[in-house]
């Protein structure tokens, strides 16, 4: 990618409008959506991390799977608004090392999120292992009347939430998730103070 392309990109009619029109529907709206998406993606991810680390451990962790959809909404909102914000300030942002650091931590945090989903929510091995320690009488009866996933949720609740659900590994992922997102937010904020700047916040 050459400087000419970036320069062309940020001087397209659309990008000029986003950056310089002063319209409340241009830069301010995109930026607000970007902040809201951040709050949703990072916030819900943090709530999940806290649960995996043992906060509110009576929440059946599998029931939190629904929030992955919420997190993905936040992700897509931020990918789209992020591309617009990047295009509008392309020559500066693409040459900023702080922006690079931000992208690095976002990619790492998303990899951790996907690993977490695999580990805690869709890895049948983990589920079987957790159900294995239960009284034999309780196991099969439940599994005939419900799907195995629901059975595990019910069993988990019957254990009064004291789950051995999350392997130590999942806790490591949770800590990494907390840290990577905090660093991504920090780098994102510091883009206005470190590295090349155009004064656009």
């Amino acid at each position: 990618m050459t400087m000419e392309f970036l320069s062309w990109l940020e001087n397209t009619e659309f990008c000029t409008w986003i950056r310089g029109s002063g319209s409340i529907w241009a830069y301010p709206l995109i930026l607000t959506l970007h902040t809201t998406g951040m709050g949703i993606l990072v916030g819900f991810n943090w709530a999940l991390d806290l649960r995996v680390l043992g906060v509110a451990r009576q929440i059946p962790v599998l029931a939190m799977e629904k929030f992955f959809r919420v997190m993905w909404i936040g992700f897509w909102v931020n990918l789209i608004t992020g591309i617009v914000l990047l295009a509008a300030d392309a020559t500066t942002k693409m040459t900023s090392w702080v922006f690079g650091v931000k992208m690095l931590f976002i990619v790492l945090a998303m990899i951790v999120l996907i690993r977490m989903k695999k580990k805690v929510f869709t890895n049948p091995g983990v589920l079987r292992k957790s159900a294995g320690g239960l009284p034999v009488s309780a196991g099969p009866k439940m599994q005939t009347s419900r799907t195995s996933l629901q059975a595990v949720v019910v069993l988990e609740q019957s254990l009064d939430g004291e789950t051995q659900f999350e392997p130590a590994n999942a806790k490591v992922l949770a800590v990494l998730s907390l840290v990577f997102w905090a660093l991504a937010i920090t780098a994102g904020r510091l883009m206005a103070y470190l590295g090349p700047q155009t004064g656009i916040k």
């Binding site: 301010p28 951040m38 709050g39 990072v42 916030g43 059946p60 919420v70």
Partner: protein, 168 residues
């Protein structure tokens, strides 16, 4: 009242803390901004899980343990209250004349009264009895919807500060 606010703001600007925030300590403002965004995410995420559960998302969760996330939302709020006050001390004039700041405070009050309503009407007790798969009462759903809306409005008007009233 307005005059008192102006005098108070003028006095604030003479304080050492104000000088530090306004550039005396180069990293004061950026550090607080970063913490403000981290607090925002904690608040929105933790209160979001609670509110969405009451609205029916992730209904397999019983409500009582979900409310154990509230202290973490409060922690996020406290981070933001402290850093927010520091912003105000650093540059009071850019806020007191800013209509976006007024709206932000307004929705902060709405969000606060909404929480007060939740606890004062005994809604918490009713909600904590809700088991997995059960619906929350309509009143709780209304409070949850108002909560999500008002916090996003707080965020929106906060983000508008530089654009509506030239705050930085």
């Amino acid at each position: 009242m307005w005059n008192e606010l102006l005098i108070f703001s003028k006095w604030l600007e003479t304080t050492r803390l104000s000088h530090l925030m306004a550039g005396g300590w180069k990293w004061g403002w950026p550090t607080c901004e970063t913490l403000h965004f981290i607090g925002l995410s904690m608040l929105l995420g933790c209160i979001g899980v609670v509110d969405l559960r009451m609205l029916g998302v992730g209904k397999r969760m019983p409500c009582a343990p979900v409310h154990k996330l509230v202290p973490w939302a409060v922690a996020g709020f406290l981070i933001n209250a402290i850093t927010g006050v520091l912003f105000f001390i650093g540059a009071p004039h850019q806020y007191i004349k800013n209509v976006a700041f007024l709206f932000k405070m307004l929705f902060l009050v709405v969000a606060g009264l909404n929480i007060l309503l939740f606890y004062a009407t005994g809604m918490l007790k009713r909600v904590e009895a809700i088991g997995p798969g059960e619906d929350a009462p309509t009143g709780a759903k209304v409070i949850s919807a108002v909560s999500i809306f008002s916090w996003i409005m707080v965020l929106y008007w906060g983000r508008m500060l530089p654009f509506v009233g030239n705050a930085f």
